[in-house]
Subunit: 465 residues, 2 copies
């Protein structure tokens, strides 16, 4: 999976005086960087993927809990994400539907309620308002070009307010507020106050409709990869072979010479082109020579990552299923530690696995507390939602993406007001011989694995021009 | 002013095996870092100020235009800023009042108007609304504790919306909108859409009243230092002597050992404590081992610098004075290239010097255009405001702080919604042996030279405990 320092990269890569020379150096071995590397290699370019971690995958990573595979980062894939589906197919992987048999659970106003329909157990007025607002979001989003949100007719007005302000001004029912707060802030692991309304509408447009955010069937929670999404990373990494260099954080990108020179912790790499495949905020921590153009530098100052902690607990069996529950919990309690719980068991159903997502305000409130306190509170929450069996897991595992070096947040970035309209073009505009990718530069399915792939293909097309 | 690499720092600093050892290493030689270094040295500590640039001062720097001194960065000082006044007095420097004799100029609705009173030439209703809103801002700000804005009773609501949203919801008159937009966004060189309402109210509280923002007499534009504010930097730097190391950007701060180890471009420094005296966004670009606590790291992702370009033009005489004008221009045109012009002549009045400030949206629109195009437009603007003589300066000089390496923005940072309430304590909380200073950590006169000084004194008091 890795190349020892000093081993030659494929194709015309060569080492001379400790400097590895390639056609294209790729900064970051997440899915976007790996896909870019693979595509460039297939096009005959010598490439080297420089990964800071001791593993590839970025925010996509398989883990183990209770003897089973779990997905520490991105996990869901959907039928309407063509790029990730195509990769899954190519690699001979299988997907399976999110478990939905039985009743869902809603926590609202201090009460735990079970429900069967797709509608939450809320008063009719609240449900009508939620449905109408989702239609309105879609309508507003239809005016936001996904490749240039700053050109939307209402861009300036929508980018001058937070999503929280919009909800405050427009939503009347308490259940509507709580639900829209959750589904609107959730996808980014941020709170509605963190988001520009324009950024949220861009996300709606990019995802293909607001209904998809909180939905399982036909939504972003639709299905998963058997064996974990980490298998996609593994296959990509394997194909790249010793074109991947681990433990090689890039510190300096120097474009002052005839070749671009990258200084890493494992030596210097010389390249004709560079593809930077890490989130903008992390890309801003690299030193550039010459310094980045102002708009690009200032963009990296305004592209904060959300805060997401995934919490897994395993049980001998998925006990909630026996009680007629599908394990899916929507927690509408404002400022809750945990906003959603999902049945994350493997297709076999053994072990039973729950995954709870702490995100945004919940993660900020709980992410820095002692681990045992957090674990106890999380299991208490699982128990109050799904039954006392939840208190005695066979195993428990947390992954805090905001605490993880070389990620420092997740699921993705949340643009606040003023960023898209004032700095939007700098997200993708190449800087001399540097090209930018990563799911944060995608137009379709922004923030997902699918977006990471399409973004890579766009960046590669710039390099190959 | 600088120490050659390898020369020993004062006191018990010693060099062994290329490692300089001091009690306290200070990252950044702006006013805050210099004041911290001086105070620690006077307390008997060996210190080393590590400055990335080839000069000290950060965003305070003297320059030369038309043969005269100009202040490329921070320039105004006021009678109500005790810390900077005390330093000025100690150094035997003199201040002089901003020139106010004659009429001021207002640009509004396409018209250039002269006026004498402190009130802008706007309809009475607009003036009443502006005055009432300033009172309201002060009242709201009185509920914001400057040392903990996140504890204000309305903190969550105020930190969920932009200042632009608040203005949109509350201001009726066109002149009121334009004026409040200008004075509220101006101090940070950002636009009201970039700011959390809570951050703005904190700034009002920290400055001692909203009236002060756009005001000369009794306001933040009150007076200046004879010979330039750069003299303060010069005196501080001289006192520190070879305790200042230039061209020494700090790349890594390693707290894993018994001593803190700082890796700079000019060698390794070992210290018991570290004072980081650079803006949070730049501090986030240093590598920390162990990695920063999540809240601190995520704060650095959400502390964007504004965009400010200072444009100076000199003339044989301050010709506008002969026309009965004081050179002070308030441009209320939305999205204008330039929002304010000031008579920046030295006390002698020779040469005549105009200083125009491009900031926020104006800077974003114009900052990246070709220099000659920008200069021509700027001189055209000066001429349209103050007379055709402005078209033929004897010299012209620009300083773009957002383009300046090791600053990448100015005047200061603009917190968007959600930052104070979710990450506020991380602004000042020490991280093991690292203490944070810089004007962005001040409680009083945040963002000014005075704030840089008081913040340094607070950081030093933490170190000396």
């Amino acid at each position: 999976m890795s190349a020892a320092h000093g081993s030659g990269a494929h194709a015309d890569a060569a080492e001379a005086g400790g400097i590895q020379s390639v056609d294209v150096a790729i900064v970051g071995g997440g899915i976007s960087g790996l896909v870019a590397g693979r595509k460039l290699a297939r096009a005959g370019k010598s490439v080297l993927v420089l990964e800071a971690n001791d593993r590839t995958g970025g925010r996509v990573q398989n883990g183990t809990v209770g003897g089973a595979v779990c997905e520490l980062g991105g996990e869901w894939v959907t039928s309407f994400q063509p790029n990730v589906q195509s990769l899954i197919k190519e690699f001979g992987l299988n997907t399976f539907d999110t478990y939905t048999t039985g009743k869902s659970t809603c926590v609202y106003d201090g009460k735990v309620t079970r429900f069967e329909a797709t509608n939450l157990p809320l008063p009719a007025a609240d449900l009508i308002e939620i449905a109408a607002t989702i239609v309105l979001f879609d309508l507003m989003a239809s005016a936001v070009p996904v490749d240039a949100p700053w050109t939307a007719p209402e861009a300036k007005a929508w980018d001058s307010q937070t999503l929280a302000s919009w909800l405050e001004d427009n939503i009347l029912t308490a259940g509507g507020c709580a639900t829209l707060d959750l589904i609107s802030g959730g996808p980014l692991c941020a709170a509605p106050r963190d988001l520009s309304l324009l950024h949220f509408l861009f996300l709606v447009a990019s995802t293909g409709g607001a209904e998809r955010f909180g939905s399982i069937k036909g939504g972003v929670l639709e299905s998963r990869v058997e064996g974990g999404s980490g298998l996609i990373v593994e296959k990509l990494t394997k194909e790249l072979g010793d074109r991947v260099q681990l433990n090689a954080p890039v510190r300096v990108i120097d474009q002052t010479g005839p070749k671009v020179r990258l200084t890493t912790d494992r030596g210097v790499v010389s390249a004709d082109r560079v593809v930077v495949a890490i989130p903008p905020t992390l890309a801003g921590r690299i030193q550039y020579d010459p310094p980045l153009p102002t708009a690009r530098d200032q963009l990296t100052q305004r592209a904060p990552m959300g805060w997401a902690v995934k919490c897994f607990a395993t049980y001998p069996t998925p006990f909630w299923r026996d009680a007629g529950l599908n394990g899916f919990v929507t927690n509408l309690t404002p400022g809750a530690m945990i906003e959603g719980v999902f049945d994350n068991s493997p297709p076999s159903g053994s072990p039973g696995m729950l995954y709870g997502l702490m995100e945004g305000d919940g993660a900020r409130a709980w992410g820095s507390r002692p681990a045992d306190e957090r674990k106890a509170a999380m299991l208490e929450a699982y128990a109050s939602f799904l039954g006392p069996e939840a208190l005695t897991p066979t195993d428990y595992l947390e992954q805090d993406w905001a605490a993880t070096p070389w990620s420092r947040g997740g699921a993705s970035i949340a643009f606040g007001p003023g960023t898209w309209t004032e700095y939007g073009p700098a997200l993708r505009d190449p800087v001399d011989r540097i090209h930018w990718t990563g799911t944060e530069t995608a137009t379709e399915h922004w923030g997902s694995m699918d977006g990471a792939i399409s973004a890579a293909e766009r960046a590669v097309s710039e390099v190959l021009v």
